[in-house]
């Protein structure tokens, strides 16, 4: 058994993870969308899908079952019947969701106390399932970029907290996890564990971490298309991307500050893949009736032989939660495997799952897949 603790545990993605794990455990669904169920990972010593104990926290009310029904009836992302079939599991999961601890500017009792509270909460989840540690994944709403400097080393960061210095909530949770020797994955563009100080703590405590910002749709496609222009020596003149979406993520991103985090995370992909910086823009707009669906339109203008201008357009229509949820399960399994094998620190070989992969500059999806495959192959030998 392994533990999976979802920060932002009442949202659409977490709800879909809960529905999915219950459905997979009971054989009501096929493991479509799970990278860890590919033949490539067949012998990789991963927890069984039925052996993942779920918990989490959320600042919002834990309306998991209502949310699942809305995803089925209104958004038509889930099957209504499937949701009813697993309603019991959803109730139990909802009951286990604890109130989240806010931090940063809106934080209440002081950062040190908040950190203690989070650690207690995490320890409680683990011991409840008879585990010494678990994996936590950040699925909470995107935070505004954190513009204040934070100390670069573990000791400095601890002093900062003792002196009442503030931290974004995502980083507070990351620190609590790593302090406890857990795995921590940042599936959002928030700061999370992207600090040298947290990497140091991970190494000290035999914890592992990775991120950030799950690569679910438009960026995924971009990271396979851009290399083709490079390989053919076609010059990309402009790449314009528009995303429209209607879920809470969209509402959060309607806030220009939060959007800034997201756009940064989407903006460095092309220059890395092309070797130059074309005119580019990534817009995100909140269109409430779309619900959990995201439609992404890309327009690429490129120059070919003798100055001829050509174009590629792409429309991606995907259900955000259904795209993200299986990756969350994948990351939980890979992270737990790493803990069991005694890996520590940053799991940079998880780059294929992220828009802004930590620890590697490679953005090409196929080369990122090869990175994971090489790691799993090399790690087939027992860790000393």
């Amino acid at each position: 058994v392994q533990g999976l603790y979802l920060i932002g545990g009442s949202g659409n993605v977490a709800t879909t993870v809960a529905v999915g794990l219950a459905a997979l455990r009971r054989g009501l669904a096929e493991p479509i969308g799970l990278v860890t169920e590919l033949p490539l990972l067949a012998g990789a010593d991963l927890t069984d899908l039925g052996d993942i104990a779920l918990g989490g926290c959320d600042l919002r009310e834990a309306d998991v079952i209502e949310r699942a029904r809305r995803l089925a009836r209104v958004d038509r992302v889930l099957s209504e019947r499937l949701v009813e079939d697993v309603a019991g599991e959803l109730e139990r999961y909802a009951a286990a969701i604890r109130p989240g601890v806010a931090a940063g500017p809106a934080g209440v009792p002081g950062t040190a106390a908040a950190l203690d509270a989070v650690r207690d909460e995490l320890r409680g989840f683990a011991s409840q399932h008879g585990l010494s540690r678990a994996v936590a994944i950040n699925l909470a709403s995107t935070e505004a970029p954190w513009d204040e400097p934070l100390p670069d080393d573990a000791a400095g960061l601890r002093r900062h907290i003792e002196r009442g210095g503030q931290l974004p909530a995502s980083t507070l949770y990351a620190m609590a996890c790593l302090d406890l020797g857990w795995g921590y994955i940042n599936f959002t563009p928030s700061l999370g564990s992207s600090l040298p100080a947290l990497d140091e703590i991970a190494a000290q405590r035999s914890a592992v971490h990775g991120g950030r910002d799950g690569k679910t749709g438009q960026t995924l496609v971009k990271t396979v298309l851009a290399p083709v222009f490079a390989a053919r020596n076609l010059r990309v003149l402009s790449w314009f991307g528009q995303n429209i979406l209607g879920n809470e993520d969209g509402r959060t991103l309607a806030d220009p500050d939060a959007r800034r985090s997201k756009q940064r995370s989407k903006g460095e992909t092309l220059p890395q893949l092309l070797g130059y910086r074309p005119a580019q823009q990534v817009d995100i707009s909140y269109v409430p009736p779309l619900g959990d669906w995201k439609v992404a339109w890309d327009h690429v203008l490129f120059e070919g032989f003798l100055g001829t201008r050509m174009s590629l357009q792409l429309t991606w229509e995907g259900a955000d939660s259904a795209l993200a949820a299986p990756l969350v399960i994948d990351l939980a399994r890979l992270c737990d495997r790493a803990l069991r094998r005694g890996e520590r620190g940053l799991l940079s070989y998880l780059a294929m799952f992220f828009k802004e992969p930590m620890g590697v500059s490679e953005q090409g999806h196929e080369r990122q897949v090869a990175l994971l495959a090489r790691h799993l192959a090399s790690a087939a030998e027992p860790v000393p």
Copy 2:
């Protein structure tokens, strides 16, 4: 100096090759679209772009200059001014184009005589430029699939010809080239050199060959997108592709027989990349007002987590000739390099250029690029 002989030398692609080589030689254009000008191939010992002597043959009238002007004024693929700037070179190229030899059912004097005539014509081109051999590239209209069996070995094929047996024109030209120790590239879906007997001849005569069907647009994009569905364990339910185009290639493909050749060449890509056979269809329609432009629409329906159905749509708008011409120049240079280095037989490492690569089953574009890169790296050492 190397020689490049274009079969179908009066068509749009050949005309664009002629305009392009003249423009590059005189510094009027940048080498956009040329794979052989990428840093990856910097030290690869390729002929200078200014040192390629051009010739060719065509069954049609050699109206190269009118065609270039039409590509500029009507199709707006080329610049009108550029065409006038290189009008002198185009006139000279047009004057050098020889009448093509038809073969197969429409052939006249008997296959053996036709083969002799082609060999003489090719020898003439080489000696005119003081060369012992050259590279020929087939750019002629797509032939109907050749359904009659042909002998599998070189001796059998020669007997077949002596007895008056027929061959498709593309194969007749391929045989003439390989007999003379030239390079031969089949840029079309016609039969060309795709026969074991011709591979044998190539080995005997220290000739090289490759093909078939240049991968210029829709298939190129498909060969990078399909692997992403596989890598993410998303199940492609259907992949529907529609091409509309207005040039002679389109008119030829309005003929159901010729279309059959093309569709075959486009149809095996997905099963190889996905590992299963989704519902798929590739349609090609002739829409004359599009001229040299090709618009390709792809609709991909796929199943994600918990049965959720999502879709990807893609519209590619490209000028066929401007996409194909630089690849023709690339292939000419790589083929000439192979001849100079003493390679012989099938150049399977050219797979990235073709829809139906000969000698390799790999369809993934990125892995095909790696194949070429590895060959060039390994071949950096002098050939014994």
Copy 3:
């Protein structure tokens, strides 16, 4: 109470009509998509939505409830809960569906006997509901075009039948309806009542009829877009339309003969609206995984000022049954109203509902809407 008899009563459209009428009657759905619920038709003396008695026939097994569940679970066109809520009504409707009578080349007992059988069956439906007449709507699979000549007048057509001459099934049913003084609507591209002889019979028997081929999606959009090019003096060079769909209609249209009927019905729209004949093509492809969904892609190339070429692309994604079903209900109500008011013969003012409107050449959607509005306004006075 009015009667509505669905020919092809077990198909997706008929099933959706049955689900919809039950849902509307019980207040479980809003009348979205119903033209007859627009304010424009407020005082038009139409049957209440709750007062429509449903029946029908089909050559296939009457698996209405399974079909409704599939439309909900697999196609996600209907809500699963809604289908269960109206399951009782669906069972009753399914039980009332009678075996259809085939005709034409596959017909069995002779056309005259078949006609008698159909008339008996129709009379039975009416009397079961205490009605003297009803409206029948043809929703059956598209027939191949009928290439044999048929007599132009009623007497001739009756002689043809007495002599054992054949008729397409759609025309056989149309004749039975009109003979009985019913309303008959041909929602398909089959021949149906599109014969002068049937129009004569309608006039004789105070019956009404209309058609043909419901205008649900791509053609609807085309009939509003084409006039804009005309009004702006922009020259349409080519209009290419591709439809991909996965339901039984799609399977039928995979047959080239049936497709010919459909393409004819889609092909005359543009010349009528533009005043000239651009390069045009309408393709239809069967892509089974799409189920009841139809995706239509249109590419319009047009020439603007000083020869500049521009384009418009359009992708329409609609659920075929959900688009067609409310129009079927609209037509039933308008047809019943016409019968009650003593109208007779062809109801050409229904043109806005059809791809190939009978009795009018006008294809512009907005002008067709005005035609209906004018009729309803003029007919506000009591019929003498």
Copy 4:
């Protein structure tokens, strides 16, 4: 002969008007895109296309010929040869362009003096061509919305100016034109003549005016598509529109203030056509490599029968100048006709040419066309 004075006379649209009038006069182009050349307007007593004398003013340098060449060579909107063929006319037009007078916050000598200067300049243009009056069309860059109140009546506006009050430049030019009894058309979303006070002046001086914001592309298509959803009782849930463009208009609109003007002008269309206010957004992004091309993507989500959600997507690719220029010529001719017939005040029957038609609320394109047709028909009788 009639006079046409272009405010913003050095821009892309004005340049294309100049190229077009020269080409039409010399028979080098067909009158594609000109509404006034439709049979509908055949007897409408319009100036010959060869009899329009062109002048204008601009704040920028009058680089008309360089601009025309760039539109040909880089943007491939015009033909390179055509530009050279009319180079003489372009030189003469460029020489006639006078420095524009700025106004509003950046204005220099005081509004009254500026108004005098503009009137003098306009009088000079007319007398140079032996005319007593002419038509001026505003093609200058979009101004920021004018938020300060301006007097509602002519006398008040004159006092405002005498006291040194400011006006947007577009309104200053409009006032100068109307004072002189000219025609004035506002082809931009700037304020222009959209003031009751200017309408009063027009009536006093027998001047005519109209506007505002030329309806060239995306909005044109929207005004024919939205009515179809209304006519079919389909509920539009959201309509998202994105425009990307690369010309000076795009650069101006990259400024949030100017964009506000444009978005206002695009935002009221849907509520008028649908009768309710769906979620809607219109974005405009500046993508420099697109040059004069504008790509507009629309995504419409709508609800059909029984809650089924469907979508329509649309991509419009047009050359801004080639779309606008013929409408400018149309408006010049219709406006001159109105002056000759003694019409005065607002020409609301020109609604079909504008995104924000003055004097009518009707947004449906087809009904706007009918409005023009009715006016021309009724006005066929001589004006008393």
